[in-house]
């Protein structure tokens, strides 16, 4: 049985993987060997050659079938092995990468922190961006919903609500929309529960078709029907899920019962699903009959207070709807020139309209986070590159024992990818932890219909981002290692090589890129900081410190007369004014910085253009309002008891109005008329008050008037402003008692200090500034670390050169300067590129800036200076180390 191959062991000359043709040849060789053996056996027995061949074939059986069978099987086996080998290799790569990282934990930790910060920041911002820009609004088929506004042809970006009569006409004449719904937030509604104290809640009135336009059904019960609009219909109300849970105990039996709202019983007919809101954090919705507002012809067409939402008909584009409404607009202009001169209508995707300014901030923040990620990538690429060069010897060894170039490249990419994935996982964890906290700390930042969640798509985004990051920062080093001359590295003993001038160039370019990206971020954050600073220094014209504000409403049928309203507020404010610790107590319909109501103005004795009346701010005040807010009366007097409700109408205007409309300084004593109605009562100006920033800190004061609420008591809902000697919140109890003593069925809502109210008007700004600022700081640190890392590496690898210089008599100072100059050169280069980039990018910021230009020189100079200082600091350690090189050891080391 001597069939064993010669030599005890078979010789190996089979390659690990065979090509398809190789497999075919092998099978052929094996089979023909068998046949030849049989033939030679037969011929040895004396059979003729031809006959032997014939018999061998016959004995064999189906040769062709066997051939195909074996080839197919072998090919299949081969590809299976190939796959298994790949998997095994990959697992080996991972194991090896983990071992390498354990061996240099410093590198791993720095990389992980960098990645976690960068990917965490991107994940957090993306989760918000997705909610605001992409995630579906809480309505059915939100893609075809649009918001409608009226606007002015000359100034189409300024949008304002519809006048009721115009709304009715647009609704009837349009043919591109399935329907238009109108709604209007109600400032405050007093809800008197069966048990317990009254409470002020928020709500909307809406045309009954609102819910059908939004295609949203009630969670329980029903939404409005057109019957609810009829004048004789019983009043109904729909409540939000949140209100139903919080105030009604989530009890289904409340459906069909009645809620006492503003002193009237409204039958509760439905509960909306959680998250349904039009952005006013509203608790209840009540039907609105637009015909109620059509009675007064002036009011109907000239007062604009209806917000409108509509749904595009299937297949209709937004442009078609715009054209449709424009046609109606010009028809209405011709029909009612006095009210509708130069008016048109704007159509906006509902999401865009609701996201508003937030959209810009978020896009900017996303861009900033992206820059941070790029900087992190550059940093890690550099770090990895330096480390790869440090690992030359090890890589050369692996190449020497048979690892191919591709394999080495893949090995290094595996390491980068693993790092990126781990860093990404930590980053996502950070984002999950921090995003809700950050948003909860800044509740006024986001409109309430945008629910921020870290869900599957956000996680997918982060995963993709991690992989991309890993590839991005791993690619250059991996390619470099694959290309390196490994024989040389082995011979050199892995020292002295700096990776050649090409590697050096790549590293420098990366550092310059890093610095320039950081400069862009720093300048952006610097501009936002400067503008925020300007904003907080703005002279608001009033003093919010030590002032308490709260909302009151005189609601119920007994307050249908102005006298009753006056009595109520007089009683409360007098009671408060006599409370120890209260210095002054007044009330207003709009707290400063919380927005602006506008009306039209006519001045007695001046020409009037009825189609273009000047816009005039309207605020109604009573009691010690000016004293409580420390708003000075510049001339004339403030309201006092002599201004009887039924006496001559008096008015106080602000300084801006006095200067604009009465430039001769003769305002006091003149008479004005307000509102769209030309036959309105004339009012005499009795005083001029100092300007205050009533619309918001960023908006300069515009002409406005302070009406005397005692004379115009149609507004039942007011905010009190109470100046105290100490902590404003200490007056809260006194306020509650005063209200309860006057009318126990009324409620107090939103007790806050005025500082808090003013602060919240800055909340969104402060929030995005805080984020942008932290991104910039991270970027600066990363850039500094980048400069440090590359310099430190360069010093180590050039130890011989520095040793030689020192040995030849160079002073330590000269060597120090040599290194520092190198670092500063990169920084300066980066600075120049970065400033150029910032100049280009700052234009996008222009809309968010206040009081400074996007090219604010002091910001640019401060950033440049700060950056150079930080880079200098980063240069110092490596530079000092260069001066300490011992000439002897450095030269022996090679």
């Amino acid at each position: 049985m001597s069939s064993a191959p010669r030599g005890q062991h078979p010789r190996f000359f089979q390659l690990p993987w065979r090509s398809r043709s190789r497999i075919a040849r092998d099978v052929d060789a094996e089979l023909s060997f068998h046949l030849e053996m049989r033939v030679s056996e037969l011929t040895a027995k004396g059979v003729g050659a031809e006959e032997a061949a014939q018999r061998a074939r016959e004995e064999f059986g189906d040769l062709e079938r066997t051939r195909t069978y074996c080839r197919d099987l072998d090919t299949r086996a081969d590809s299976e092995t190939r796959l298994a080998d790949r998997v095994a290799e990959w697992r080996q790569d991972v194991r090896y990468a983990l071992r390498t990282m354990r061996r240099s934990p410093g590198f791993a930790i720095v990389s992980l922190i960098t990645l976690a910060l960068a990917i965490g920041a991107n994940t957090a911002v993306f989760s918000v961006a997705r909610a605001v820009l992409v995630a579906p609004l809480p309505f059915g088929k939100p893609g075809s919903l649009v918001a409608l506004y009226e606007n002015q042809k000359q100034n189409p970006t300024e949008r304002y609500p519809f006048a009721p009569a115009n709304f009715v006409d647009y609704r009837a004449q349009q043919h591109t929309l399935t329907d238009i719904a109108a709604y209007r937030p109600l400032g405050s509604i007093t809800w008197l529960p069966d048990h317990g104290d009254a409470e002020i809640i928020g709500g909307l009135i809406a045309t009954p078709n609102l819910f059908s336009v939004l295609q949203t059904r009630a969670l329980y019960g029903r939404t409005f029907t057109s019957d609810d609009e009829r004048p004789d219909a019983a009043p109904v109300v729909i409540v939000s899920y949140h209100f139903w849970q919080r105030a009604l105990g989530g009890d289904l039996h409340v459906i069909g019962q009645s809620l006492m709202l503003n002193g009237h019983a409204n039958q509760l007919v439905g509960v909306m699903p959680p998250g349904f809101t039009l952005g006013f954090s509203e608790d209840v919705w009540m039907p609105y009959d637009v015909n109620d507002d059509m009675q007064d012809a002036v009011r109907a067409r000239k007062q604009h207070y209806l917000k409108a939402v509509a749904r595009l008909r299937p297949g209709v584009t937004i442009d078609a709807a715009r054209a449709d409404l424009a046609t109606i607009a010009s028809r209405l202009e011709t029909q009612y020139p006095e009210a509708n001169k130069a008016r048109s209508a704007a159509v906006l995707p509902l999401r865009e309209s609701m996201a508003g300014d937030v959209r810009t901030s978020i896009l900017l923040l996303q861009a900033a986070a992206g820059l941070v990620l790029l900087i992190a990538c550059a940093n890690l690429a550099n770090l990895t590159l330096s480390r790869t060069i440090g690992r030359r010897r090890e890589l050369a060894l692996r190449a020497a024992i048979g690892a191919g170039r591709a394999r080495l490249t893949r090995q290094l990419l595996t390491e980068s990818l693993l790092l990126a994935l781990a860093g990404g996982a930590i980053g996502v964890g950070l984002a999950m932890l921090l995003t809700p906290t950050l948003l909860a700390l800044n509740p006024d930042t986001l409109p309430s219909m945008f629910a921020v969640r870290i869900d599957k798509s956000v996680l997918l985004f982060s995963l993709a981002m991690s992989v991309l990051t890993g590839l991005l920062f791993g690619f250059i080093p991996a390619l470099d290692a694959g290309r390196a001359n490994l024989h040389g590295a082995l011979k050199e003993g892995g020292r002295g090589s700096t990776g050649g001038s090409r590697g050096e160039r790549v590293r420098r370019t990366l550092v310059v890129a890093q610095v320039s990206l950081a400069v862009v971020l720093l300048i952006g954050a610097g501009l936002l900081t400067r503008s925020f600073d300007q904003l907080t220094r703005v002279n608001m014209g009033f003093d919010p410190a030590h002032v308490l504000t709260a909302q009151l409403r005189a609601s119920g049928a007994r307050y249908d007369s102005s006298d009753a309203v006056n009595q109520f507020y007089d009683a409360v404010l007098t009671d408060l004014a006599h409370t120890p610790g209260v210095l002054a107590a007044g009330a207003t319909n709009v707290i400063p910085t919380q927005g602006r109501m506008g009306t039209a103005l006519r001045i007695e004795g001046e020409p009037v253009d009825e189609t273009n009346l000047p816009d005039f701010g309207y605020v109604s005040v009573r009691g010690g309002y000016f004293e409580a807010l420390h708003v000075p009366i510049l001339s004339g007097r403030e309201y006092d008891a002599s201004d009887k409700p039924d006496g001559e109408k008096h008015v106080i205007i602000n300084n801006a109005a006095a200067r604009r409309f009465f430039p001769k300084g003769d305002a006091v004593g003149r008479r004005i008329q307000i509102g769209p109605n030309p036959s309105a009562t004339w009012m005499t100006i009795i005083g001029i008050a100092g300007d205050i920033r009533d619309e918001g800190l960023a908006v300069p004061a515009k002409p406005m008037m302070y009406a005397n609420h005692a004379q115009e008591a149609w507004e039942r809902s007011l905010s009190v402003v109470i100046r105290t000697s100490g902590d404003p919140l200490s007056a809260a109890t006194a306020l509650r008692n005063a209200v309860k003593a006057t009318d126990p069925t009324l409620a107090v809502r939103d007790i806050r200090s005025l500082d808090d109210v003013v602060g919240s008007s800055l909340a969104a700004r402060r929030f995005s500034l805080g984020l942008a600022f932290s991104f910039a700081v991270v970027a600066l640190i990363l850039a500094a670390v980048g400069v440090y890392g590359v310099l430190a590496f360069s010093v180590t690898s050039r130890a011989k050169e520095f040793g030689l210089r020192l040995a030849l008599g160079a002073t330590a100072r000269a060597v120090l300067l040599l290194v520092v100059r190198e670092g500063l050169t990169w920084a300066t280069l980066g600075l120049v590129v970065g400033v150029a980039g910032a100049v280009a990018a700052a234009r996008m910021l222009a809309g968010m800036l206040f009081g400074i230009s996007p090219l604010d020189a002091s910001t640019y100079v401060a950033v440049a200076f700060g950056l150079l200082v930080v880079v200098l600091a980063a240069c110092l350690v490596p530079a000092v180390r260069a001066t300490r090189v011992d000439p002897l050891t450095s030269m022996q080391a090679e």
């Binding site: 049985m1 001597s2 069939s3 064993a4 191959p5 010669r6 078979p10 010789r11 190996f12 000359f13 089979q14 092998d26 060789a29 094996e30 089979l31 060997f33 068998h34 046949l35 030849e36 053996m37 049989r38 030679s40 004995e59 064999f60 059986g61 189906d62 040769l63 079938r65 066997t66 069978y69 074996c70 099987l73 072998d74 299949r76 086996a77």
Partner: protein
């Protein structure tokens, strides 16, 4: 008349081949000769069945193949039993043995 090889059950061919390789590495022709000699010419196997079985067994990783030189200095493919193949042989032999004994018992004249 001895049975013709084509009638051998596939499972039977597999176990016979594994047994053939239990000793030393062999090429296909040698395996056929060994089987022929060992069974006194009763269990001869044709080339087609032999090579299909060998490649099947190799795919299952019960045997492994290497190229080597034959006794007459020709390039030939040699098969060896792997550890898995040895385990398989042991298990299959036990099954076969009890099966064959059972058949014998039944066939024994009463």
């Amino acid at each position: 008349m001895p049975r013709t090889p084509s009638e051998l059950l596939q499972g039977t061919v597999d176990i016979l081949l594994l047994r053939a390789l239990a000793g030393e590495a062999m090429h296909g022709y040698a395996i056929a000769r060994w089987l022929d000699a060992r069974s006194d010419g009763v269990l001869s196997i044709d080339g087609a069945a032999l090579y299909q079985a060998l490649h099947r067994l190799e795919h299952r990783k019960w045997i492994s193949a290497t190229w080597g030189l034959s006794e007459n200095n020709r390039k030939a493919k040699f098969y060896t039993l792997t550890a898995a193949g040895r385990t398989q042989l042991r298990a299959e032999s036990a099954v076969w043995k009890s099966y064959a004994e059972a058949v014998f018992k039944v066939l024994r004249p009463a």
